[in-house]
């Protein structure tokens, strides 16, 4: 193959890839636009928020969430295998972009950032979102690291968004230092993994592992486990999983509620997406069963889409087809390792988050620990996914769709909670739970929205949080039935116990706001009553309260989204 052919192939690949990459391109364009518009003097007249919101809506539309309906999206590797597009990518990316739209509306209503800062802040937000979109589609070790950096580095600056504040700058510094350290550790793990398998492309790594796993020496296994642990440090940091959660309460406390919402929702969703990507990426080689079942001729066609150097690939792939029957079976130890590691982390994270939340007096710290706990619940879904990926696709599909449902629900309930915190801060200049007491007298609608969001976070039926939890727990129970692995039963019990544990601290907030007398010295009456805030909150809370009636379509959607991923 000469250079010309290679370049032609590249051109084809890139053109095809671009059509899947439109949302990211729009995000890039908005970043440029936010920069360029400032060059002209029209800044005083044009509020850049409108540019941002328009960009986010366009980007959301380009993410085409409806494509996955009916399981219509096949797994496609784009940009020469760096990224992968499938139903899961599209769904999570859409959720993140939808959240971006809601978030921008939220910041407009809450007034932070003000019009001076907004161009910079929105640039950072869009930059971080771009990184998150890449996180959920990464298929390559470099892209994983790059995407994490792209999502994290702007977030560090966002945490210190309100300048001139001691707490804000402290939060930003802590976040930046811990985050950079975790990223460095993760990179070291990535280097070991890449060196051991001589590749950075996840499916290739999986193939290499499947080939060599049986003959690995003790030291090689040690390297593999070490690299897995080191990579999990970086991921655990992004997920705020115990024991790498310590930044979360401080950062949440120090930065404003708007940034908290961004960090706790978009960042978590993306980190979970990446976790799934890595788990499936190195633990499973998709599509091999199909190839085996079909005629061998189908092989090259699939591979040609997958890989850049197709013509050379045809010959070897046919060889590998013969071994492929066992590839996914051979990877079972890898999956078990990932599944058990994540199950363990999830249990500790969940329990710790819930216990630590008990003693909090600041609502943002409380919600930070609640975020940690919820990261634990969501990570629980990965365990059944990994345990049954190679054996029982129905179970794996259920687990992944459960996770997706949880993320969807989580967007609304957590955004609702943080929005209330921000709005109340604007009223009473306080984020102490004690100052919220008796708030129902003066702002009943806001309080009812927060109470619904909190009980949804508990997972109380019929609120939406229950549906997420139910889906995740159900998949664990299903996987337990299918595999009889004891750790899944333990996971289920821990999840259940935690649900009950978490009740008390959410309930305490509700109790203080609803049942106690209004706090001394908190004068809320001077501010206008319901307005945009109430409208926004109701719009965010309604999905939480009503999802149970529309559960079936949403469930059908998430099931469609994960279909092409693992079959």
């Amino acid at each position: 193959m000469n250079l010309q052919q290679l370049i032609k192939q590249l051109a084809n690949d890139s053109t095809e890839s671009l059509s899947w990459f439109l949302p990211e391109i729009v995000l890039c364009a908005v970043i440029m636009l936010l920069l360029l518009v400032r060059l002209f003097d029209g800044k005083q007249r044009l509020d850049l928020w409108f540019v941002a919101i328009a960009g986010s809506v366009v980007s959301f539309l380009f993410s085409q969430p409806w494509l996955v309906c009916g399981g219509g999206v096949e797994r496609t590797e784009i940009f020469t295998g760096l990224l992968v597009i499938d139903g899961f990518t599209i769904a999570v990316r859409s959720i993140i972009l939808l959240f971006l739209v809601l978030f921008l509306v939220f910041t407009k209503i809450s007034g932070i950032p003000d019009s001076d800062d907004s161009p910079d802040i929105y640039t950072l937000v869009f930059g971080a979102t771009l990184g998150m979109c890449l996180m959920v589609s990464s298929n390559h070790l470099l892209m994983i690291f790059l995407a994490i950096e792209m999502a994290s580095v702007p977030s560090y600056a966002l945490a210190g968004m309100l300048k001139g504040r001691k707490r804000g700058s402290e939060a930003a510094l802590k976040y930046a230092i811990y985050g950079a350290g975790a990223a460095g550790v993760m990179l070291y793990g990535i280097s070991l993994l890449a060196g051991l398998t001589s590749s950075a492309h996840l499916p290739t790594i999986a193939l290499q592992l499947a080939e060599n796993l049986g003959t690995m020496s003790g030291s090689e296994q040690l390297v593999l486990v070490l690299s897995g642990l080191l990579i999990s440090v970086g991921l655990a940091f992004k997920l705020s999983a115990v024991p790498f959660h310590f930044w979360a309460p401080d950062v949440f406390h120090g930065s404003c509620a708007e940034v908290n919402a961004f960090l706790s929702i978009a960042s978590k969703a993306a980190a979970l997406g990446l976790l799934v990507r890595i788990g499936i990426g190195v633990g499973y080689v998709p599509g091999l069963e199909q190839e085996v079942a079909q005629d061998v001729e189908a092989g090259p066609a699939v591979v040609a889409g997958l890989l850049p150097v197709a013509e050379e690939a045809i010959e070897p792939i046919e060889d590998s087809v013969e071994q492929e029957v066992t590839v996914n079976e051979a990877l079972q130890p890898v999956r078990d390792f990932i599944g058990k590691l994540i199950a363990l982390l999830a249990m500790i994270t969940c329990t710790f988050g819930n216990l630590a939340a008990y003693s909090q007096t600041n609502i943002k710290r409380l919600l930070a620990y609640s975020t940690i706990a919820h990261a634990g619940y969501m990570m629980m879904a990965i365990a059944p996914l990994m345990s049954s990926l190679g054996s029982d696709y129905g179970v794996a599909e259920g687990a992944l769709s459960g996770l997706l449902l949880y993320i969807v629900v989580y967007v609304f309930m957590n955004l609702g909670a943080f929005a209330v915190v921000a709005f109340l801060r604007n009223y009473i200049a306080s984020e102490e739970i004690a100052d919220y007491s008796g708030m129902i007298r003066s702002r009943p609608y806001i309080v009812i929205c927060l109470v619904l969001a909190l009980f949804s976070l508990v997972g109380l039926p019929p609120l939406a949080g229950f549906l997420g939890k139910f889906a995740v727990f159900a998949s664990i129970a299903d996987a337990f039935r299918a595999t009889d692995a004891t750790y899944l039963l333990v996971l289920l019990l821990v999840g259940g116990v935690n649900t009950a544990l978490s009740l008390y601290y959410y309930l305490r907030v509700a109790k203080i706001m609803v049942m106690e007398e209004p706090a001394e010295g908190v004068d809320i009456e001077q501010y206008p009553k319901a307005g945009l805030e109430a409208v926004y909150l109701v719009a965010i809370t309604l999905p939480t309260a009503l999802l149970i009636f529309f559960w079936n379509p949403v469930h059908a959607y998430v099931v469609d989204a994960v279909k092409a991923l693992i079959s």
Partner: protein, 256 residues
């Protein structure tokens, strides 16, 4: 070439490896042990600089050059700027708590033993025959990695097309996307850094909700704008310049 020359060459390779590795490790240890932030920065420059030598030895001369230019010439200079801006007398030396030392030594030591054990335990990694063979056949033409690197950055991979392992030949990706997307990242980061470093503009007073929100946050922490702003004005203006120029530099270099 005679036998003597060949032996000489092998000797030099190992000699330089030991030299660069030694400098790198020794000065890294110095970075760790010194309590003086200015010296720390200096040792770091030496340590990372000699790492570039290791890159050259391993045949990655382009990366080695970039290491010198971006890392030593850019990032570390940036750090040194930071050191100079904050190096008031009392912050130059800050002693680590002894308990931290003990803990860190124990944890770090066991991690080191584990990592070295792992690194030195894998057979295919300590197989000297490959390196001997490669060095024996080394030709000046083979050493040009800049061209394939440049091609890879535009998305075309020309190495390993004839690899024995089919899977490895497949898993090669062009790096056009990260090459482009990283520039967007650098732009965002540049704006972020500039935002963090500069004082708050107050060309227009915030109105309505925004004002209320800002005032409330200030009130919550019992701070006022003025005190903080006046303190930050002086240093941040100078930082802004250095910051931008460095970041721009790295952007340019990355796209070379």
């Amino acid at each position: 070439m005679g036998i003597l020359a060949a032996v000489n060459r092998v000797y030099w390779h190992e000699f330089f490896f030991m030299l660069f590795a030694g400098i790198s490790v020794v000065f890294a240890v110095c970075v760790l042990l010194t309590q003086n932030i200015v010296r720390m920065a200096f040792y770091l420059v030496l340590s990372l600089g000699s790492t570039a030598g290791l890159f050259f030895l391993a045949g990655a001369e382009f990366v080695g050059a970039m290491q010198l230019m971006i890392y030593v010439g850019g990032t570390l200079v940036l750090l040194i700027f930071g050191v100079m801006l904050t190096a008031q007398q009392r912050y130059v030396k800050m002693n680590t708590h002894p308990t931290d030392w003990v803990l860190a030594t124990i944890v770090g030591g066991s991690l080191l033993v584990l990592l070295i054990g792992a690194a030195a335990g894998v057979d295919s990694w300590k197989d000297a025959s490959a390196s001997k063979k490669a060095l024996a056949e080394l030709d000046v033409d083979d050493a040009r990695t800049a061209t394939p690197l440049g091609l890879a950055l535009t998305g075309v991979r020309v190495d390993k097309l004839d690899s024995d392992d089919p899977a490895l030949a497949n898993g090669q990706s062009g790096y056009l996307l990260p090459f482009i997307i990283v520039s967007v990242h650098l732009l965002v980061v540049l704006i972020g850094a500039a935002y963090m470093a500069r004082t708050k503009r107050s060309a227009t007073a915030p109105v309505g909700r925004a004002e209320r929100a800002r005032l409330n946050i200030m009130q919550m922490e019992h701070e006022t704008d003025d005190v903080v702003y006046s303190a930050s004005k002086q240093s941040s203006s100078s930082l802004l310049d250095s910051d931008q120029s460095q970041a721009e530099e790295s952007t340019d270099e990355a796209q070379e």
